[in-house]
Symmetry: C2
Subunit: 142 residues, 2 copies
């Protein structure tokens, strides 16, 4: 069973309904190695699915987060980015261009408890100047 089928099965099992809009969003996210914002998901899908609304994107992302099939990155204060790739890894945020890069740690450290607090997930964010922006000296893009 592939990833998409796994997600659809989980949707059903948890009592959520499968709608064309949700299917479209799931297909968009499965295998996606980018970190799209809500607006990006919406505007990318809108041409092909004109019956899609931004509210539904928010709603579906909430469902997918609830069933543990995506994570939300609060790496920047301007908006939330979606991480569909649950393989444990870190992120680098370029303070100049705003791009987000995946960073793969040699070994993921993941304590289940820390100071008595129960840990559900961990996010490691690196901030700085990306390779691309180190080369050119043009002004910041955002």
């Amino acid at each position: 069973m592939n990833k998409k089928e796994t997600v659809l099965k989980k949707i059903k099992e948890t009592g959520f309904r499968l709608t064309p809009q949700r299917l479209a969003i799931i297909e968009y996210l499965v295998g996606n190695r980018e970190h799209p914002s809500m607006e990006k998901i919406y505007s990318d899908l809108k041409p092909q699915y004109p019956m899609l609304s931004l509210s539904t994107v928010y709603n579906t992302i909430k469902v997918l987060k609830t069933i543990g099939e995506i994570q939300e990155l609060t790496i920047s204060d301007d908006r939330v980015y979606i991480e569909p790739n649950l393989d444990p890894h870190h992120h680098f945020f370029c303070e100049k261009c705003g791009r987000i890069y995946d960073v793969w740690p040699e070994k993921q450290t993941g304590p289940s408890k820390i100071d008595g607090h129960l840990v559900h997930s961990i996010q490691v964010y690196y901030y700085g100047l990306c390779v691309s922006c180190q080369q050119d000296s043009s002004p910041a893009s955002s």
Copy 2:
């Protein structure tokens, strides 16, 4: 020279002006082990400094970030939290009550470059259920 004097000196040296409002905010933050939001800083200081505006809090925080005397935590998507304590440490965010706890790593890992990207700072965020919320079974507070 204590911490407060260091910050004041740095303000002057970098060409920024020292105003009563900025002094009040700096005094509020130096030694503060909490993670106040902009609104919290404003409402805590307002009674004693009625001539303070929220705009000035934002402005002063921007200055303090520029001179490297505070960090901003984007641990939650609802707002930015200020971290006045620059001793390198991590943070735990309780998904039930919203409290932020400091977490002190045994040894801080801090590469200056990763995949070629120049790293200026690192944030490690843990998410889960805090000690306090594990004990009681009352509904979430936010």
